[in-house]
Amino acid sequence: MVFQSVEYLLFLAAVLAVYFVLPGKGQNAFLVLASYLFYGWVHPWYVGLIVSVTLVDWVCARGMEDSASPRRKRMFFALALTVNLAVLGAFKYFGFFVGNVTALLSAIGMMPAPILLKIALPAGISFFTFQSVSYAVDVFQGRTRACRSLVDYAAFVCFFPQLVAGPIERAAHMIPQYQRQRFADWGMFRAGGLQFLWGLFQKVAIADNAALLADRVFSLGDPSFPILWGGVIAFGVQIYADFSGYTAMARGSARLLGIELCANFRHPYLSQSPPEFWRRWHMSLSTWFRDYVYIPLGGSRAGGLFWARNLFLTFLLSGLWHGAEWNYVVWGAYHGALVVIWPWLASRLSVLKPSAPDSFSLTGLGRMALTFGLMNLGWLCFREHSLAMLWKDLCLSPFAASAAEWRMGVALGLEALLFGFPLLVLHPLLERLGWLEPGRCGGHESWRWTVAQGLAAGACLYGAVALRCEVGADFIYFQF
């Protein structure tokens, strides 16, 4: 069930109709049931997997907290970690591992018997296992208390708006929200509805139209330099609008249910450096890697080469998290190298030094354009799954293309940017007005603001209807 479908609208309406008449504990139990229905809509067996992971983590976390001996505590922690990583490994990386070992053995003349094990990748597995791992680590390190209620914990793992593609939440943020009764708040309904419609617009009007352009280019066997880069820009617009649109719809749906999810994006394409981009893009994943990989590896404590190694490894793993394919590894390595090299370069080239926040300068604009270009080079690695084709793409010469090819390529890139223009204008406006963020959404209580908010929601809905791409693409992050 996807957010932009009629099925989801009916499902959400049915959930809302029952949810607010139930008492606190009943609300959570109902949320869990609804979430399992949502998750098992197409593949019911997925539910068995998520229930198993939930049970193991809940028991282990309680075991950790209740254990007097550190050894027993470590044992529970190891069990939780092993189960989560084994589930992720088996479903996501087993085929990749076997394929590469087989290829390696074949290359050295050995002919291993082929292992044919086709396992369907359950949607969102990388998201809910990471959320579960963070819970186990936090309980083990005493950063959060183990959740005593299985139902509350299950709601934390399987909450349907964020189950399939995040944001990756932390127990300390979510579980207290499940422990209190939620009431229908019409101010939150307004803000949630507007956020949902804004997300819908991003997905069906921006991402899907940009996807059409990107898919055409990446279907070409003989792209020229300008056409390829027109397609890469289209993909850059697509992936941002797609994921940001999903997140907005997730946050909007959650807000209707009285639950606040964390933000995942802060205008990443306005970043003036790659490190800044990663502080603004998929923030829930970036902070996860920071807290559970980079810092445990030593972070910047040892300085110099160790810092660079830790950062690079973190990005490499982040690449692999996105998918069990070599192009994602290349993508992770590329970004790892960028964030390591950039501060070094900035210390030598003053134009690369970040300017004060909110200040505008031409060099700042130049840094923004440079960062956007570097990110698009990364998107090429992300989108092109065949390494041979990726190499071919990288070898294309801009001078070999004709003027007509340049016109086509620039027109393609520009068309994608035009579709993405509202991301640059409408989104900051809605944010500045405080209509998309918690706490501030109910701040404008006058009738004039109410009508203005209704007009903004109507504009998003109209944009989604008028520009909806006939052939909708899947959410990109569903595959992770």
């Binding site: 056409i227 908010q453 809905l461 899947d474």
Partner: protein, 372 residues
């Protein structure tokens, strides 16, 4: 209470604004060049002008393989193609019923080009871009349509979602507005990049379409159109033709079913019988893997056996090029489409006529065409 009132006010504004704008701008103006569906009257006029003995119906499997002129050259028969990209069995039935049989033309033979289980895959491609053409082709109430597809909708439990979809489409009508709005975005991109060219937008659009034509697509793409998601593209690139087989037909029928509720095939057969027109079905060969012609798997083999039995018992003809070793990989341009190169087209037409003429020639009484 005030908060509730404000929510209702915002919701009314949020719904009323797009509903009003859709009604205001959802007009035929500016639709030039966009998909206007199926022009039944023009097709009938063209058919009557050509007055063919042989009408061939199908999708891109047909028009990338055959052309009227070449077919006339190799066969000597006046043939017309009713081919439309991404069309399917539902549209082929509607074409025969509401185009061919509404014209004055009564061909001696109708040939339907199909691929594997297309003929009984009733809901294949009836949405996702074909809706307007289908609406145009359904020029009167179609009880057969309801019999085949109406039953499916109810059986699938989609009735409520369908009703809601229809209501939303009524509330926010945008089928004419959408292509215009999307084209305006493209238009602006063209205008901003017209440096060094005097070509207008339609010429540049044609250039762009040509650049993305079948001849330029990656040869490992198996579908009629570009992949819709990155993982699909990756899968296709990785495993090539094997994915094409399983992926493309995974939602199609797994067994042949002859009942009139199951597909449009029995209705097509009944129409031809009632009008005393011979029906011929031609199964195309899908892209071979490295010149190795793959035999049918057990499911398709059983399907084809049952299809043949059904067609023969109803007096229809069936030819099958799928096992022809002379249709080699070099003849394919992308997926299952045959290359438009001169030499390959000539080869294909000769092979085609060589294969079908022993079967169809006895039913084409005026061999040599009306002109000869």
């Amino acid at each position: 209470m005030r908060s509730f009132g404000q929510f209702i006010a915002a919701a009314i504004v949020a719904l009323a604004l797009p509903a009003w704008l859709c009604r205001l701008w959802n007009t035929d103006e500016g639709l030039e060049g966009a998909d206007k569906g199926y022009d039944v009257a023009r097709t009938i006029a063209e058919l009557e002008k050509e007055d063919p003995d042989w009408v061939l119906i199908g999708n891109s499997m047909l028009y990338t393989r055959l052309s009227e002129d070449r077919l006339r050259t190799v066969s000597g028969i006046q043939a017309s193609l009713l081919a439309r990209g991404r069309s399917q069995s539902a549209m082929w039935w509607l074409c025969v019923k509401n185009v061919l049989l509404r014209s004055k033309v009564r061909p001696e033979l109708i040939t339907v080009f199909f691929r594997d289980t297309d003929l009984t895959w009733a809901d294949f491609r009836v949405d996702g871009g074909n809706e307007r053409a289908i609406e145009d082709l359904k020029i009167e109430p179609e009880p057969e349509w309801e019999m085949v597809l109406g039953r499916r909708a109810v059986a699938a439990g989609d009735a409520l979602t369908d009703r809601l979809s229809a209501s939303l489409q009524q509330l926010f009508p945008a089928e004419k507005l959408r292509p215009v709005a999307q084209r305006q975005v493209q238009e602006r991109a063209f205008r901003a990049t017209r440096l060094g060219t005097k070509a207008n937008s339609s010429v540049r659009r044609a250039e762009l379409n040509d650049r993305f034509s079948l001849a330029h697509l990656r040869s490992d793409l198996g579908l009629d159109a570009a992949p819709r998601s990155s993982d699909q593209s990756a899968e296709l690139a990785k495993v090539g033709n094997e994915t094409i087989d399983t992926g493309f037909y995974e939602d199609g029928p797994s067994a042949f079913e002859a009942s009139p509720e199951a597909s449009f095939l029995p209705h097509l057969v009944a129409l031809a019988k009632a009008n005393q027109i011979k029906l011929h079905f031609h199964r195309v060969k899908r892209r071979p893997a490295s010149n190795h012609t793959r035999p049918d798997g057990p499911v398709i083999a059983a399907y084809m056996r049952d299809l043949r039995t059904y067609l023969e018992s109803n007096g229809c003809l069936l030819t099958d090029e799928s096992v022809d070793p002379l249709l080699t990989l070099d003849m394919y341009v992308d997926g299952d489409h045959v290359s438009s190169k001169e030499e390959i087209q000539r080869r294909y037409h000769e092979l085609f006529w060589g294969r079908v003429s022993p079967v169809v020639a006895p039913h084409l009484g005026s061999m040599g065409g009306k002109d000869s």
